[in-house]
């Protein structure tokens, strides 16, 4: 087994599917000759040819729309949007067609498309390169939205996404791309794409998070563990649909829930989780639900990005708030 970074694992999953499924195509801006601006598709065009790993014109609406056309002819496009901040021109195609084609043709036509896109900040990137826009996507019925937080989960979830018969938005946290290495077995084994991952067991509070914020949340949990506060940490991983069973089971045991995300607070996915906990587990709660999120601002330029991204201390303080009897 080899130790891989997340971006290498993402590359490997695409290579596996290209090698094992002749209908899989990779497409996007700079994905071919250049291998992607983050190297997520490095070497794939050399290995599989320019017919299967395609450099497109600079047009996100085209990328998403062409993926729909290809998909209805039996191809499985895995398309890259270069940064999540450049998703907007593609949204018309995604919202008006990709998400609803199955429904409006009563199951006759479908879109087994994966749109991969770098997500979030923390790498000193320029304006528009650090956005966390998962809520925009989760608010469209018919889409699945995934956000992995480790090389193994990126590999397994991307395989699942490519094999899924419906469109999957695959959000790749940029600051995890090369943060660490993990053993990833290149065995073509997919992970379930509608399940949370419980990363840490605990009885005192449930921390729900995803993507890059898993790092800060795990650190907060470790810091609290030193004070004998035992946190359960859940990586939501699938943001649409959410795996409420796992979350509610956990809340039933701990009675406290703290939701952590990088995206802004207003209408964030955290609000959906909080509302569902209130609907189904209010009487299990021993303290009000807490949200630790980005502020309701534009993602600032990089000098202030660490002021924007929730830090360990904010998470620790939020957990402590729930423990005040």
């Amino acid at each position: 087994m080899t130790k891989l970074t997340m971006v290498e694992a993402i590359n490997l999953a695409q290579a596996w599917e290209l090698a094992h499924d002749p209908d899989v195509l990779v497409m996007g801006e700079d994905v071919g000759v250049n291998g992607g601006v983050f190297r997520a598709t490095a070497g794939l065009q050399q290995r599989f040819g320019a017919q299967r790993v395609l450099d497109t014109p600079l047009a996100e609406g085209l990328i998403a729309g062409a993926a729909i056309g290809l998909a209805t002819q039996g191809f499985k496009p895995v398309a890259e949007i270069q940064f999540m901040g450049f998703l907007y021109p593609a949204l018309d195609q995604i919202a008006s067609h990709m998400a609803r084609l199955r429904s409006r043709t009563r199951g006759r036509l479908s879109c087994p498309v994966v749109l991969r896109m770098p997500h979030g900040g923390g790498i000193h990137a320029p304006e528009h390169h650090s956005e966390s826009l998962e809520s925009l996507l989760c608010h469209h019925a018919g889409l699945r939205v995934l956000c992995p937080s480790s090389p193994q989960r990126a590999y397994g979830l991307l395989l699942a996404a490519i094999r899924e018969p419906d469109p999957v938005m695959f959000l790749e946290p940029v600051r995890l791309y090369r943060l660490g290495r993990q053993e990833v077995e290149d065995n073509g084994q997919a992970l379930p794409l509608d399940r949370c991952f419980v990363l840490r067991r605990g009885e005192d509070a449930t921390l729900v998070t995803w993507g890059a914020m898993v790092t800060e949340t795990m650190k907060a949990a470790e810091q609290l563990a030193a004070e004998n506060i035992d946190c359960e940490v859940i990586d939501a991983a699938s943001l649409a649909p959410l795996d409420f069973e796992t979350m509610l089971d956990s809340v039933a045991r701990t009675g406290r829930v703290i939701i952590v995300h990088e995206a802004m607070r207003n209408c964030g996915v955290g609000a959906e989780i909080a509302a569902t906990v209130a609907e189904h587990a209010l009487y299990d709660l021993r303290a009000p639900v807490q949200r630790v999120t980005g502020y309701d601002t534009i993602m600032p330029l990089y000098r202030l990005e660490q002021d924007y991204i929730p830090g360990v201390q904010r998470i620790v303080d939020a957990v402590r708030t729930t423990l005040i009897e």
Partner: protein, 365 residues
């Protein structure tokens, strides 16, 4: 004019795209130079700005390499387009840049420190104290185009003799927003000058990835507006052509699309490694026709310039740049309030507690 059916088989439309050049790579001018190019003061002002832009650009790349600036898109090789456009416009026109057009920004009075602040990740970099209506950098490719058309419509509705100038890259011409904007400009005869900076690459994608058309200028034809191609390394041609188009625009004679052919001599940005996708040979060939040298040759051939003047100019520019860098590096970091300050004219109440929270946790960093 409504038409019903066709009476016979014949060509119903055809087009030609003029290509123009004044200064060739040796600085020779084919034919009589335009009026401004016969005036040393005009030509020297442009040359000085081109040199300043080049030296600033080199410095910015070095600042990035030493960790003092964020990702930076070099404009190496684009100086003639940027300065020619700057010199062709009036202060009351409005420029819609992409992200590389440093020379135009300088010409329009935008401070070096501001440009450094922006690429240094500081919100204050787009205040533009001396350029109140120009738009800031536009990173989402192509999205500036409809805004430029709207601004042009405003000039037209108010009968103001002004024009909007929109920059767009070769890659940017693939976006729907580009077509939407030039199409509208044609329909409304808007005072919109579009300068397509065809530097032959969009990150790793050559123009052949974007289009099968022989020129980008001919995209104007489908919008019913004039399109032409010029040598973008020729500052005389750029200024002359853009000034002509701008004058027509201000006079109510409608939009123009100008494709300026140049070459991105640098990596796409400091995060890119162009050697992955293009040959050193190609870059060398492009370097041989770069814009500064030919401008200098033109000046020298007329006895307006020499090595001493060059050395003095470079020393002056370097001093100005060092001073700007010093000020940039000495600019105190903004507080977390900067995220909230200009979000709304009237800050909503429920944002104030978030601003206070951000202040509290900023201290923990």
């Amino acid at each position: 004019m409504l038409r019903f059916g066709m009476d016979r088989n014949h060509t119903v439309a055809s087009f030609t795209i003029p290509g123009r050049q004044w200064l060739d790579a040796d600085g020779q001018c084919s034919g009589e130079p335009p009026e401004f190019a016969r005036q040393p003061a005009e030509m020297l002002a442009m040359y000085r700005m081109m040199v300043q832009t080049r030296l600033f650009d080199t410095k910015a790349v070095n600042l990035q390499r030493t960790g003092k600036l964020g990702t930076y898109p070099s404009c190496l090789g684009h100086e003639a387009v940027h300065v020619g456009v700057g010199a062709a416009l009036r202060a009351e026109d409005v420029v819609f840049p992409v992200y590389r057009e440093i020379g135009t920004k300088f010409w329009r009075g935008i401070a070096m420190q501001d440009i450094l602040l922006y690429w240094g990740g500081d919100e204050r970099g787009t205040r533009y104290a001396d350029s109140p209506q120009d738009f800031p950098f536009c990173i989402p490719i192509g999205s500036q185009m409809p805004q430029a058309a709207g601004t042009a419509l405003a000039f037209s509705l108010r009968n103001q003799p002004r024009c909007a100038l929109a920059y767009v890259g070769d890659g940017g011409t693939s976006q729907g927003a580009f077509y939407e904007a030039i199409n509208f400009a044609g329909v409304q005869r808007l005072p919109l000058v579009t300068v397509i900076v065809n530097n032959q690459w969009a990150i790793s994608a050559p123009v052949s990835t974007q289009t099968a058309a022989a020129t980008l200028a001919q995209k104007a034809v489908a919008a019913g507006i004039p399109g032409l191609q010029i040598d973008g390394n020729d500052v005389v041609g750029v200024r002359h052509t853009v000034a002509e188009a701008a004058a027509r625009a201000r006079a109510g004679e409608g939009p123009t699309v100008i494709e300026a052919l140049t070459y991105r001599l640098s990596d796409h940005t400091t995060s890119d490694d162009a050697s992955r996708y293009r040959s050193a040979d190609e870059v060398e060939q492009a370097r041989a026709v770069e814009p500064l040298l030919r401008t200098r040759r033109y000046l020298e051939a007329r006895g307006w310039w020499n090595e001493d003047a060059e050395q003095q100019l470079r020393a002056e520019c370097s001093a100005t740049i060092e001073e700007a860098v010093k000020q940039y590096l000495a600019t105190p970091r903004q507080s977390s309030d900067a995220m909230f300050d200009h979000l709304y004219a009237n800050m909503p109440r429920n944002l104030q507690w978030q601003r206070d929270l951000a202040r509290r946790y900023a201290a923990h960093r």
